[in-house]
Amino acid sequence: MAEPLIRIKNLYKVFGESPRSVMPMVRAGRTKADILAETGHTVGLKDINMDIEKGSIFVIMGLSGSGKSTLIRHFNRLIDPTEGSIYIDGIDVMGLTQKELENFRRTKVSMVFQRFGLMPHRTVLENVAYGLAVRKVPKAERDMKAREWLSRVDLDGYEAQYPSQLSGGQQQRVGLARALCTDPEILLMDEAFSALDPLIRSGMQDQLIELQGKLKRTIVFITHDLDEALRLGDKIAILKDGVVSQIGRPEEIILNPADDYVEAFVRDVNRARVLSVDVVMQPAHHRLTTENIDEALRQMRGWTEDYGYVFHDDEYRGVVTQEALEEACEKSAGPTAPLHEMAEDGPTLEPDTVLQDAFSATLDSDYPVPVVSEDGEFQGTFSKEDMAKVLAHDNAEPSDSPTRTAA
């Protein structure tokens, strides 16, 4: 596996008069409250380890006070850790000199802020071009780039306005354009959409997903909103009191919460909107690859179910029921048509369909709906029962006892 783009190792941050002096206590596992009472130092982050893949959106989620904003400021060293190391694209960020660090911030990473952080005395265009101005890019060139980015965030015509003349959503789009204008590899977004109205927020999320589809940057996104995290994140880290509770893909976090804290968090998630078919489907079975109906019937009689999925030339063709095959055999004494011509075209699901879009197909069907990818590959099946089980939060093993379900 390729090296991750960002690697954080054993990162600790203690706030107070002399943070290093309390490190032994922190490492000995004393609680945050103990250390605060005894030494007056606050443990901000404790033993953070994370790897972030290039081109992914990595969401760090936690409530206020969990240390998430502190953590993201370590990526570009707006805050220095008490201990630990940060590697970005092979660079040891902690080893950079002041000059190198400035250069690193000018080219590798840029940041979008919760309260925008726009410069009120500069026009929108000058704000977007700020990163390039710091880099001493000639004015004509940086204005051209800034215009380009403004139009990519749909703010054409606002160049000469001042930030105070824009709405919150527009201001944050300026913030986003400013961050992207330096063409950074990594985008740090500190609760970038939290200050916006819900409707505007979801619009911004769409815009970010759309941009990311084209740009393929590495995005570290901080939020306190689980729905936002699940919507944007390729991977999610859940932070509690400065400690990582769990890191995983969204569905892993929902289906297998690592501890009670995460479980409490994900309990109210609307699973139908978040989970896609491929993470909850059953493995493929009941395949019929033969041409011959008699052979197919023989196979089917050995199964407990009375239907089968028909394949021809490794391609999914449809469903047949045992009943229909028997009928066909009785009718014609002679040689029968090949099996794949008898297959019924039933509904199919694509693997990345979210559950709520799979409702009607699943409920209307008498047999588990086949999950077939765009290029025709049969990946598994998804039934009403599977749907019910997932939505009832019955995420434990299939052999669940009825008492627990009742409880």
Binding site: N76, L78, E102, N103, F104, R105, R106, T107, V109, S110, M111, F113, R115, F116, G117, L118, M119, P120, H121, R122, Y130, G131, A133, V134, R135, Y162, P163, S164, Q165, R178, T182, L188
Partner: protein, 299 residues
């Protein structure tokens, strides 16, 4: 009784000791000014030449041209026709009442004093904003400069430099510079942390942060400080005239000693006119540079 006299009477220093102390300090300072006075005077020579040159420029240029330049500057800074007309009328009246030359002298010294206050005060203010230690050292000094009666610090200045323009402008500076320094410091400290953090995150170095974020955002406060400095410099005009600074202060001083009420009033009003002109023009200019703040709260 001898033992308890400290209770009813303050146990003060022996009279002879006090005299000796005073004599010692005065003597030391006199020796210092005798041996270094000339060198220090030479140090200030460029300033003196500049002062004389600027005053001569204002005095020798025909009044009409000076008036036109003043009105043009007013309009350029404020873009207000009303204010420009007001300045023109005021200066015509000043000239009509025979105070043109003195007004030019005062204008020259105030302009130079303001210019010096900004060039010295701004960097000190920036330094104070950067380091708490600098702030702790400079603040009490500023307190002393503002509260110490002007006559007291006139003594050593005159002892060292004699009477004339240079000691006059130093006295004006001591009195007038604190507001620029204080408000520059305050303004920079009040700059929105989020904006400064954003600049840092984009790789701005300390100088870039100062010029692209801190100073521009502190400008309203700095302009208020400059405005205060100008007002205080004008207030010092009369006191500075006591050590030989020519201008509107001297006739005022003469009227005090001779009880010429009308003469005092007219010259006093001329000072007020200059003050109002400086104040309105600098405020209008500040407001114009802060255009982006419009609609900040209007939503």
């Amino acid at each position: 009784m001898a033992n308890t006299s400290w209770f009813s009477e303050f146990p003060e220093m022996e009279r002879a000791t006090l005299v000796a102390l005073r004599k010692g300090l005065d003597g030391a300072y006199r020796d210092f000014s005798r041996s270094y006075g000339e060198a220090i005077e030479n140090f200030f020579d460029p300033l003196l030449y500049f002062l004389v040159w600027f005053e001569k420029l204002l005095l020798n240029t025909p009044w009409l041209i000076v008036l036109l330049v003043l009105v043009a500057l007013t309009y350029g800074a404020s873009r207000s026709i009303k204010l420009s007309v007001g300045v023109a009328v005021s200066f015509l009246l000043i000239g009509y009442f025979g105070m043109w030359e003195n007004t030019m002298r005062t204008l020259s010294i105030i302009t130079v004093a303001t210019f010096l206050s900004i060039t010295i005060g701004l960097p000190i203010g920036v330094m104070m904003a950067r380091s708490d230690r600098a702030q702790n050292i400079v603040t009490p000094v500023l307190d002393i400069m503002q509260t110490m009666p002007a006559f007291v610090y006139l003594i050593p200045v005159v002892m060292l430099l004699g009477i004339g323009k240079v000691p006059g402008i130093i006295a004006v500076l001591i009195y007038a510079i604190p507001p620029v320094i204080r408000l520059t410091n305050l303004g920079i400290r009040l700059v929105d942390r989020d904006v400064l953090e954003a600049a840092t995150a984009f790789g701005a170095n300390p100088m870039q942060r100062l010029f692209s974020v801190q100073l521009p955002l502190a400008l309203p406060n700095i302009m208020a400080g400059i405005n205060q400095t100008i007002m205080m410099a004008l207030a010092m005009v009369v006191i500075a005239s006591m050590i030989g600074v020519k201008g509107l202060g001297q006739p005022v001083l003469k009227s005090i000693t001779n009880q010429y009420f009308t003469m005092g009033l007219l010259n006093g009003l001329a000072i007020v006119v200059i003050a109002i002109m400086f104040d309105r023009v600098s405020q209008a200019y500040a407001a114009r540079t802060q255009k982006h703040l419009e609609g900040m709260n209007g939503g």
